[in-house]
Amino acid sequence: MADVPLTPRAYLQAQSRWTPVEIAFWLATLLPFWLLPDYLSLASQVAITALFALSLDILLGYAGVVSLGHAAFFGIGAYTAGLFSKFVWGAPLPGLLVAAIVSAASGFVVSLIVARFRHFTLIMLTLGIGLLMQEIANRAHWLTGGSDGLQGISINKVLGAFNFDLYGYTAYGYSLAVLFILFLCARRIVHSPFGLALRGIRENWTRMPAIGAPSRAHVRMAFTIAAAMAGIAGALLTQTTQSAALESISFGRSADVLVMLVLGGAGRLYGGLIGAAIFMVARDQFSGIAPQYWYFWIGLLLIGVVMFLPNGILGGLSALAARWRKS
C-alpha cells in the first residue's frame, strides 16, 4: 500500500475531477460574445455540430460502435422540432424535449437491429439505415416538405424573453447553454459505471460476456442516449435557423460528423468539440478564400493530422505531451 498514494476510490474520484484546462476551455467558449460578435451565427452552428459530435463520441469513442448513419437521429430531431413548432407549440425548450424523446425512441428501435453487429457490418448497416431515413424524409413530401425543406416553422422567444436575432447572440447563447448542459450529462455518463462498461465493450467485445456483462443491452442504451443527444442537436439547428431540410438527415452529415470526431480525437469528450470547431472554422475560412476549392485544404488538413497526430488532434497532442514529460 505504501507505494500507492491514493485509495482506489480517491483515485477514481480524481479521474473525473475538473482540470484547469477544462475550466479554461469552457470560459473560452464565452469569448466570442465579446471578441467575435460578427461570428456568432457560425459559433452557434459550431456549438450545435459539437453537440452532434459529442453524441457520436459516446457511441464511437466510448462504446467503439461506429455509425455512418448518425445523421438519421440528428434529422429526426430537426424535423420533430420543426413539426412541433408548426403544429403544436413554438416554445423552444419543449421542442427540444419532444425532439429528444422522438429521436431516443428511434435510436432504441434502430439499436434493436444493430446492437449485435460489429465492425464493417455495423458500419454498413448504419449507413443503410441512414440512407433509408434520408429517402423516407424525401418521399414523405407531405410531412417534411421534401427537398424544398420544411415550411412553416415558427419558433418563439427562448424562455419567452430572447428573440433569435440577426447577429446570433440568442442562437449562440442558447446553443452553448444546451451544449454545456448536455456535456455535463455526457461527462457524468462516461464517469459512471455505465461509461466504464462502454469502455469495456470498446476494449474487448469478447471478454464482456465472460464477466457477465449484457453488452447488447449496454449498446442499446448507448445508442438510445446518443440518438437523443443527436436529436437535440438537430432540434437546435432547426430552432436557431428556423429551417429543416433533407441535408440535416443526409449521408454527408453523417460522414462529416464522423470526420470531425476522429479529427479531434474520439473517446475524449472534447475531441468532438475541438474537431467540430476546427473543421467548421477551417471550412468557413477556406471557402472564404476560394469557395470551389475548400475541399482541397480540408483534405490536406485531414491527411496532415493522420500523418503527424495519430488518434486525432487531442490524441496526438497528449502523446506529444507525454513524450515531452518523459524527456
Binding site: 454498413m124 439505415i129 433509408l132 470526420v259 476522429v262 475541399y295 482541397f296 485531414l302 493522420v306
Partner: protein, 287 residues
C-alpha cells in the same frame, strides 16, 4: 420473342457488371489489408479523367484509352500506397477513414481545378452506339460491350489469382498474413501490387462508367456508397462475392424499379440490410 422484362434484366446485368469492375478492387484491398479505403472512387475518377483527356484532347479512340486508364490509375495509386497507405496498415480503422476521406476531398478539388465542375461527355465510337435486336429485345451495344469487358476482366482476375504464383501469394496473404510472411512471401510488395491492380480496375471502371453515369468531380463520393454496398453484400476479400453481389444489386435495382417503382431508391438499401442481417459478413465473407 421474349417479354420486355428480359431486356430490362439485361440492362440490370450490364449495370451490375459496371459496379463489379468498380468495386472488386476495394473488396480485395479490404479483405487483404483490412484497409478501409474510402478514396477508392477517387482512383476510379482518375481513370475516367484519363479517358476523357485522351479522347477529347488527343483524339484517341475510346477503346484504346481503356488500358491506359487502367495503367495510369494503377501507377498513381501505387505512389499513394507507398507514401500514405503503407504507414497506416497497422493504424486504427478511424485513422484510415480520416486519411482516405482526406484524399478523396483533395481529389474532388484537384479535379474541379483542372477539369472544371461540368459533366464530361465523350463521343463513343459508332459501333458502341445504338442497339442490336436479339429475340425481339433491344440490347444496347455499349451494354453488350460492358458485359463482355467485365467478363474478360473477371476471367483475368480469377485466373490470375488461381493459376499464377503471384495469385497464390495473394491468397496466402489473405488467409493468414503471419503465416504467409513466415513462408517467405514478401507481404509488403504483395500488398502494393494488389493495391495497384485493384485501383487500376477501379480506374478502368471509372472510364467505362462515363457512358452510363457520367463523370464530374463529385464522382469520388457519388458512387462510393454503391461500391461499399457491393463490397458489404459480397463479403470482404471475395471476388466471387463481389461479382454475385454486383449482379444482385444491379438486377434487383432494375427489376425492383420495373415492378415496384414506388420502392425506387429504397430497394438496394433494403437488399443490403436484409443480406447483412442474414449473413453479417456478406454472401461470401469469411468467418
Amino acid at each position: 420473342m421474349l417479354p420486355p422484362i428480359f431486356g430490362v434484366l439485361f440492362d440490370g446485368i450490364a449495370y451490375g457488371m459496371l459496379l463489379f469492375v468498380l468495386s472488386v478492387g476495394l473488396s480485395v484491398t479490404l479483405g487483404l489489408m483490412n484497409f478501409v479505403n474510402l478514396a477508392h472512387c477517387a482512383f476510379a475518377m482518375v481513370g475516367g479523367y484519363v479517358t476523357v483527356t485522351l479522347v477529347n484532347t488527343y483524339n484517341w479512340p475510346f477503346i484504346a484509352t481503356l488500358p491506359v486508364a487502367f495503367i495510369v490509375t494503377a501507377l498513381i495509386s501505387v505512389v499513394f500506397e507507398r507514401v500514405f497507405y503503407r504507414r497506416l496498415y497497422r493504424a486504427s480503422d478511424l485513422d484510415q477513414v480520416l486519411l482516405t476521406i482526406g484524399l478523396a476531398f483533395v481529389s474532388v478539388a484537384v479535379a474541379a481545378y483542372f477539369f472544371g465542375t461540368l459533366q464530361q461527355p465523350i463521343p463513343t465510337p459508332a459501333f458502341l452506339r445504338g442497339s442490336q435486336q436479339v429475340l425481339g429485345l433491344g440490347l444496347g451495344n455499349y451494354r453488350i460491350f460492358l458485359i463482355v469487358t467485365a467478363l474478360i476482366v473477371t476471367v483475368l482476375v480469377v485466373a490470375g489469382l488461381e493459376y499464377t504464383r503471384f495469385g497464390a501469394m495473394v491468397r496466402a496473404a489473405v488467409d493468414n498474413q503471419r503465416m504467409a510472411s513466415g513462408l517467405g512471401i514478401n507481404v509488403d510488395a504483395t500488398f502494393a501490387i494488389t493495391f495497384a491492380i485493384g485501383s487500376g480496375l477501379a480506374g478502368l471502371g471509372g472510364a467505362l462508367a462515363i457512358e452510363i453515369v457520367g463523370l464530374d468531380p463529385s464522382f469520388s463520393f457519388t458512387y462510393l456508397v454503391y461500391v461499399l454496398i457491393v463490397v458489404a453484400v459480397g463479403g470482404l476479400g471475395s471476388i466471387a462475392g463481389s461479382f454475385i453481389a454486383a449482379m444482385l444489386i444491379g438486377i434487383s435495382d432494375i427489376a425492383g424499379k420495373y415492378y415496384f417503382p414506388e420502392l425506387g431508391a429504397f430497394l438496394i438499401y433494403l437488399v443490403m440490410i436484409a443480406v447483412l442481417l442474414w449473413k453479417p459478413s456478406g454472401l461470401f465473407g469469411k468467418r
